[in-house]
């Protein structure tokens, strides 16, 4: 019987507010530990939390853009557990009344649309950062270093329903969510900086089973690559166990980046009791109709809308999805260029292929400021209309990245314009045929690839100005 996996994702998104969630401390990057602290985020006696309005706006924006129902009378709860990097030994989070519930996010997997169901979107505060010395784990560390700069930074937790079916779908979902928070301008969205941190809940079961298998939580996946590998590893580990009739235990497993395996962190058998209760320091969070309307009216273009625009311009779902997740300038340049060229696929290829490739070689992340869509479109149409060769097009693009030039003028002054006058070319073809009777004989005997050689000779004679395809066409006509 077929075994199928089920995956649910829990993602923490660090918001890019100016100040922390419940105090006025700056949220700024610093190498110095314990720099951005105050009585509140350090949990000093007598300190009190005051919610950050901006953060509430941000999470409402995220909840609305994932089509969630908004809880207009929500509240903050205390989640109680002891850990040295948790200043109050409780985390201010949300429990049964999160800001958003029952939403969804459209994603693209293997060039096709798919939908991820969102269970909840809730607001909470980040913890400090522990570094365990002498061991990776708190219980066996000789000492633990604590940095509370991160403590109190606003986090949004986005929890999906356990309906994701593959590692690819999980990766696409994180890519989409990442693009969403970047486009909404509510998070830096940098995985390598921990702006987005995700855990995966994975289970396997026989396809026709009504119940899901035992859930295993995977932590410590720091990149999309490790997310994909960890899920695949875990699915195959659990599938093997199910095939061997072994019992899968509910636990948290740690992804080992080097060994590319998951290993047991802790058993969830004695499941933690967080003793949630509403935080008496914070009044209920009333989101007024006005507040919500204001956010709705200022909603930026969402990745899905952007993607649809690209699809409508003629791109495939896959290409539209890919350019939507590329740096912003690419999508914008693509739109302008394809508007001029009226050729979506060619414009897409030039921008995502040639232009991006050349920039990357130079170590640049964006084109020079003087480069315009018109210039790029001109190069594309010169190539398309056979006025210049593809190679020449690439050369002109390279020049354009170096300095401000006019592509057509450059092509003319550098003699890159191809000869398309068939009469002129015919003359040259005839001359080459005359000079290469021996080669012609060999072609007649079946050495077809020597046609290319003759085309090369024609181009050489023309000093590179002849359009190779025209030359080939005329040559073949003559040979027959």
């Amino acid at each position: 019987m077929k075994i199928v996996p089920t995956i649910g994702m829990e993602t923490h998104v660090e918001l890019k507010t100016n100040s922390k969630m419940f105090c006025r401390c700056n949220v700024v990057e610093t190498d110095k530990p314990n720099e951005n602290l105050c009585p509140t985020c350090l949990g000093l006696p007598g300190s009190l939390p005051v919610p950050n309005k901006r953060a509430i706006e941000f999470i409402t924006l995220l909840a609305l853009s994932t089509k969630c129902q908004i809880t207009t009378d929500g509240m903050f709860h205390r989640k109680n557990y002891f850990y040295p990097d948790l200043p109050k030994n409780y985390q201010i989070s949300q429990f049964d009344l999160p800001v958003g519930t029952e939403g969804s996010l459209e994603i693209v997997v293997n060039g096709e649309f798919s939908t991820v169901e969102i269970e909840r979107v809730h607001m909470e505060e980040d913890t400090g950062k522990s570094t365990h010395i002498g061991s990776g784990r708190i219980d066996s560390a000789t000492s633990t270093h604590l940095d509370f700069n991160r403590a109190g930074i606003p986090l949004v937790e986005v929890v999906t329903k356990p309906l994701i079916k593959s590692s690819k779908e999980a990766v696409s979902y994180i890519e989409e969510l990442r693009q969403l928070v970047i486009d909404l301008d509510i998070s830096e969205g940098k995985l390598e900086k921990g702006n987005l941190r995700f855990d995966a809940n994975i289970s396997v079961a026989y396809e026709n089973d009504d119940e899901l298998g035992t859930k295993v939580e995977i932590k410590n996946m720091n990149s999309l690559r490790s997310l994909e590998k960890a899920i695949e590893y875990e699915i195959s580990r659990q599938t093997k166990m199910l095939n061997n009739n072994e019992t899968i235990i509910q636990e948290t497993r740690h992804w080992d980046e080097k060994k590319e395996v998951t290993s047991s962190m802790r058993s969830k058998e004695g499941s933690a009791d967080y003793r949630y209760f509403s935080d008496p320091d914070i009044p209920n969070m009333i989101l007024s109709e006005d507040f919500i309307d204001k956010i709705k009216n200022n909603m930026p273009v969402l990745p899905s809308e952007k993607r649809n625009t690209f699809i409508n311009s003629g791109l495939s779902i896959e290409d539209a999805n890919s350019i939507g997740k590329s740096p912003k300038w690419m999508g914008e340049l693509y739109k302008s260029v394809s508007d001029i060229t009226n050729d979506s696929k060619t414009s897409f290829n030039w921008i995502t292929g040639e232009l991006q490739g050349q920039l990357r070689k130079l170590g640049e992340t964006s084109p020079p400021e003087w480069m315009t869509a018109e210039q790029l479109a001109e190069i594309i149409s010169l190539v398309k209309s056979d006025k210049i060769s593809f190679t020449s097009g690439k050369e002109i693009l390279g020049e354009l990245i170096e300095e401000k030039i006019n592509p057509e003028e450059y092509a003319i002054s550098n003699k890159l314009i191809q000869e398309n006058d068939t009469e002129e070319i015919s003359k040259m073809v005839k001359e080459i045929i005359k000079e290469n009777s021996e080669v012609l004989e060999r072609i007649a005997n079946g050495e077809q690839k020597l046609i290319g050689f003759l085309v090369g000779q024609v181009i050489k004679l023309s000093k590179g100005k002849v359009n190779p395809s025209v030359a080939k066409e005329l040559l073949l006509k003559e040979i027959k």
Binding site: P45, L146, D281
Partner: protein, 484 residues
């Protein structure tokens, strides 16, 4: 002439008329402390030397006519669970015996701005949990009226120093009666404002939804002055509120309800008689006295001992030895935290943390904490309904006069019952004041409590001032061994 029993406005007049200098009053108060503290132990720390310059500055301000206001140069004692930057905030706990606060509570900032001088920090039951100061890790405070008796709690130190005259007034915190009950036991005025009126920022939390800072003073007017200098919205406290326009109770020809449930079993004859005596006085002033029933009042101890411990179990989690306070070593981080909490907290605090943890646990939440929240909401409704019929409510502040040390420490329920009359005001978040009105058959102070609807604090204070003037309670304790 002694000045430490004068009212703040009387002292201010002497300052202004240049008949008394802040530095002279300051010396007097500290001399009083030197003579009484060895018996009373109301202050944990005295800020004696550091105030010399401040007193001189206040002298100059009065000389130049640039005084900051009525509180300029007034020596006030602060309960040791309210942070003053640069000084210890111990909460009378071993856990924080070495803890120096780096910041001022909002109320301290406000009082500093008015030129208040702080005499020092006063004793309390550890983390404000108790009714006698017997739970202080640094030894109990004695009642100035009879050192064999408790001063009440948890603000026992704050009440005792005002009574003894080693401070002109003090600040306490009131979670279930911690200002009013000790004020009553020590024969002084104690006022708990409407929840959210005075900022809690900088007050070490016991039960956040119940805690409220308030004054303990020699008279109602002083409470009014202190309250008005401390109140107001604070952007650092999300539960603090701007003053809202509320229908105020009547000052003349008011209707006053005696709470039936607080005149029954468990209340001493002395305490009942005191309420009846005051009721007659009020009647003679033209007010109408009626009996009202608030049945849920009887449940208040049960509700309180679920909500307060539940909140405290989380509020006190931060004391783990990781970032501040005393640390007791262990082989692992967790062991260190366990050892720190095992040694740092006293038995009453541990008991309440356990009680609260239990009440919040999975499977018990609905039966205990959840039920308590519902009952509390019902109780609030009961009070709101009652206040549609009456302007004020009246009851004893405490079921009896001050009890002796050890008398109730073995019977926890009886100890908890001593807050029976004061807890309801905290649960419903409404203002309440305790005013000394007479002496018991033991010659010890007795008080009545007057309550009013939320956000009517100043009207309640004004009404109480009028009552105070006709009661004219002028008795003072005689401290044996002290300077009288």
């Amino acid at each position: 002439m002694n000045h430490y029993k004068l009212s703040i406005s009387e002292i201010n007049k002497l300052f202004k008329d240049k008949k008394l200098k802040p530095s002279e009053l300051y010396s007097e108060v500290f001399e009083r402390a030197a003579n009484t503290e060895s018996i009373i132990h109301g202050h944990l720390t005295l800020f004696q030397d550091e105030n010399i310059k401040k007193a001189a500055d206040a002298d100059k301000r009065y000389e130049n006519g640039t005084e900051l206001g009525i509180l300029d140069g007034i020596p006030i004692a602060i309960k040791d669970n309210i942070n003053i930057a640069g000084y210890a905030t111990t909460c009378s706990s071993q856990m924080l015996s070495n803890y120096i606060s780096p910041y001022d509570a909002t109320v301290i900032t406000k009082l500093k701005d008015e030129g208040v001088m702080f005499t020092g920090k006063t004793n309390l039951d550890e983390f404000a949990m108790g009714s006698s100061t017997e739970n202080s890790a640094f030894g109990p405070t004695k009642n100035p009226w009879d050192p064999s008796r408790v001063p009440g709690g948890s603000s026992g130190g704050s009440a005792a120093v005002v009574s003894a005259g080693s401070a002109i007034a003090s600040l306490g915190s009131d979670t279930g009666g911690s200002i009013r009950q000790p004020a009553s036991f020590c024969g002084v005025v104690g006022f708990k404002p409407t929840y959210g009126t005075v900022s809690r920022f900088g007050l070490v939390a016991f039960a956040s939804s119940l805690d409220q800072i308030g004054p303990i003073t020699n008279n109602v007017e002083d409470s009014k002055i202190l309250f008005n200098s401390m109140k107001g919205f604070d952007p650092f406290d999300a539960t603090s509120r701007k003053e809202s326009k509320t229908k105020q109770p009547k000052l003349n020809n008011a209707k006053i309800g005696i709470i039936k449930e607080l005149m029954e079993d468990g209340i001493s004859e002395d305490a009942k008689l005191e309420v009846q005596k005051v009721a007659k006085l009020l009647e003679s002033q033209g007010h109408e006295i009626v009996e009202v029933s608030l049945p849920l009042t009887k449940m208040s101890i049960s509700i309180y001992y679920l909500i307060a411990p539940a909140e405290c179990s989380a509020n006190l989690s931060r004391f783990d030895g990781v970032r501040y306070g005393n640390r007791v070593a262990g082989n692992t981080s967790y062991e260190m935290m366990e050892n720190t909490r095992a040694e740092g907290f006293g038995p009453e605090v541990k008991k309440r943390i356990l009680l609260g943890t239990y009440a919040l646990s999975a499977g018990y939440y609905d039966a205990f904490y959840g039920q308590a929240l519902k009952a509390r909401a019902m109780m609030k409704k009961e009070f709101t309904e009652t206040y549609k019929e009456v302007d004020y409510l009246i009851s004893p502040t405490t079921p009896s006069d001050p009890f002796k040390f050890g008398e109730k420490s073995d019977n926890q329920l009886e100890m908890y019952m001593s807050d029976l009359c004061t807890i309801p005001a905290n649960l419903v978040g409404m203002p309440a004041i305790s005013i000394p009105t007479g002496l018991s058959s033991n010659g010890l102070p007795l008080s009545v409590q007057i309550m009013s609807p939320a956000n009517t604090d100043n009207t309640l204070l004004e009404f109480s001032q009028k009552l105070e003037s006709v009661v004219s309670f002028t008795s003072l304790p005689e401290i044996k061994g002290g300077v009288s």
